[in-house]
Amino acid sequence: MKLKAMLIAGALSFVPMTAMAADLTIGFSQIGSESGWRAAETTVTKQEAEKRGIDLKFADAQQKQENQIKAIRSFIAQGVDAILLAPVVATGWDDVLEEAKDAEIPVVLLDRTVDAPEDLYMTAVTSDLVHEGSVAGQWLVDETAGEKCDIVELQGTTGSSPAIDRKKGFEQAISGHDNLNIVRSQTGDFTRSQGKVVMESFLKAVGGDNICALYAHNDDMAVGAIQAIKEAGLKPGEDIKIVSIDSVPDIHLAMANGEANATIELTPNMAGPALDALEAYLADGTTPPKWIQTESKLYTLKDDNMAIYEMKKDLGY
């Protein structure tokens, strides 16, 4: 039902709503609903726009670049004040960004960047994947406080940039701490079921008692691994410490139950900083930096995870 409501809302937002006479009209070209996080980003963007009294025109590209280019051209034709773009791929944007520039409409990139000259867009709001990994690593460094700890790692899809960068950041953070060692590292393809399958093999290959901590490149794999640990008769969160990245609702539920220890948020609120920058720019011409890094917030058992779960579960994750 939620999805249907979203689709209808999306369709409605194409209807010219001049009667609303909002101060600002901003077009948002979203990739589509490829993941739960993406859906949450859409929800939060709409909330942020509503909070600021901005008329947001939303276009779902269904994972296709040509749809995004079409949407941007239609935004330009409608004369919007600014455009938010979450690009599905990195290349092929030069022409349409040029058109937006000629029409003097600032473009802000959300979540991903593009391979285009920097002067074609105003700024990019993204998270720093390497930093996320290093926050996770630093948490484990502090948590173990010098005690020996053998780590198993569940990597993301082999070759994907989150997998490469989150691995790099984590390794940077734990390097120089001889008590911390990654003893096994294998891909779980960012999915729950592969996370579970690979954790099962870790538990047998290394021995559950010899694993001190699990680092998963995303929460979904950690949620799968938690089930594998439970089925092996161990207590996740106690026997094996678990740190992962993304901060999806289900990991907060697991943390509330003491089955996971820490998660680093990949915030779905990319629109907040983007809209702030846009409002400042449109009001008095303040040019933001070319890259706005979102906060990679660390959540641990000290936070009220049940409350965070309740808050997040309706965002569409």
């Binding site: 039902m1 939620k2 999805l3 609903s33 490829e34 993941s35 739960g36 859906a39 990597q155 082999t158 070759g159 096994r184 590292s185 294998q186 891909t187 393809d189 999915t191 729950r192 079921s193 592969q194 579970k196 399958v197 690979v198 099962e200 093999s201 047998k204 290959a205 979904d220 949620v223 799968g224 089930q227 089925e231 092996a232 008769g233 289900d250 569409g316 994750y317």
Partner: protein, 346 residues
């Protein structure tokens, strides 16, 4: 009867040898591979994992073997898994019991299979194209059912199907073995298997001989859909949630590979479900080697490809023929080899 058992054994000998070899490879990279313990109320060990994790592919290849025997192919099974998992999860979330959720999922699977069957048997669309439709559209349907999220459920009965145990044995193992035996019995204790083979060898002449090929073709796709639905429910139950994006992704290819490793011809005709099931176990054992070896994940697909190529080369008709010539020139025994050639036309 003993001759029949003997023939079956002869048919699956290559698969048994390959499976033994891959299991040995597992043992070499991980010496504790064959150790099985009873822990936490369940059998616990790598061999159990192979049987358990092989369940989805094993279930898919039961239906796939029958489809391929009619000279068809079913590319939609992975997507049907996602749909079935989504349907089961959403029924469970709505408060229905696991029986309702399972029945609902199987019914949807049957419907999907029937759709494929009608496209192939009635509209005469080539199977690879006909099932491609659902392969592409199915994942979208599943996402509509789950509303784009991972739909989690807590119904213990449904979870039991994927993550539970009966007498210490993980339920999925029992399910695929039971279904494999049931379908094998159904096609081999009756003339059904022979009729399916007849369609695969020559559909026109089988129809002229009075076989209702249309109904039979629809039936095999229907069975394939039901098998896929069962696999989908197990996969969803295993992680207590329906992941429409990833459930069964690319698993149709593993299922087809299992059938091929099982020595069944993609051109239809004679088939062996038992051999396909062994094929599924071989694939899962290969996956197990990769996981246990501790190699960096960049090598996963290369290792898998190398092992699979080796298996297929050993089974290729040219190599088989060369081996046969070698054997024949070494010890002249004319009567035996002729009989063997008749039994395995591929």
């Amino acid at each position: 009867m003993t001759a029949h058992v003997h023939n079956t054994f002869r048919r699956i000998t290559p698969q048994l040898i390959i499976l033994a070899a891959v299991l040995l490879l597992n043992f070499m990279v991980f010496p504790d591979f064959f150790r099985i313990e009873f822990q936490n109320g369940r059998l616990f060990g790598n061999l159990i994992d192979v049987l358990n994790r092989g369940a989805p592919t094993a279930l898919l290849c039961i239906g796939m073997t029958l489809v391929i025997a009619t000279r068809g192919i079913d590319l939609s099974v992975g997507a049907v898994m996602a749909i079935a998992g989504a349907v089961a999860a959403s029924l469970a979330v709505d408060g229905h019991g696991w029986q309702v959720a399972l029945t609902g999922a199987l019914a949807v699977g049957a419907l999907c299979g029937m759709w494929n069957g009608v496209l192939v048997a009635v509209l005469r669309i080539q199977p690879i194209v006909a099932t491609l439709v659902l392969m592409v559209a199915g994942r979208g349907i599943a996402q509509l059912v789950t509303e784009g999220t991972i739909l989690t459920f807590l119904d213990p009965g449904l979870i039991h199907l994927g993550a539970g145990t009966i007498l210490g044995i993980p339920t999925p193992i029992l399910i695929w073995i039971a279904l494999g035996l049931a379908v094998t019995a159904a096609v081999r204790k009756t003339a059904l298997g022979m009729l399916i083979e007849a369609i695969g060898i020559n559909e026109s002449s089988s129809r002229l001989a009075g076989i209702n090929s249309r109904v039979l073709i629809i039936s095999v796709y229907l069975i394939s859909g039901v098998c896929a639905a069962l696999a989908g429910v197990i996969v969803a139950a295993d992680i207590k949630g329906a992941d429409a994006n990833n459930a069964g992704l690319w698993l149709e290819l593993d299922a087809i590979l299992a059938v091929v490793i099982g020595g069944n011809s993609l051109l239809g005709g004679r088939f062996s479900i038992v051999a396909s099931l062994l094929g599924a176990l071989i694939i899962q054992s290969v996956n197990s080697v990769i996981l246990l070896s501790g190699m960096p994940p960049e090598f996963n697909l290369i290792i898998k490809a190398l092992i699979i190529i080796a298996i297929l080369v050993i089974q290729s008709p040219t190599v088989k023929h060369a081996l046969y010539i070698l054997r024949a020139s070494a010890e002249p025994q004319p009567s035996e080899p002729i009989k063997e050639a008749k039994e395995s036309p591929q």
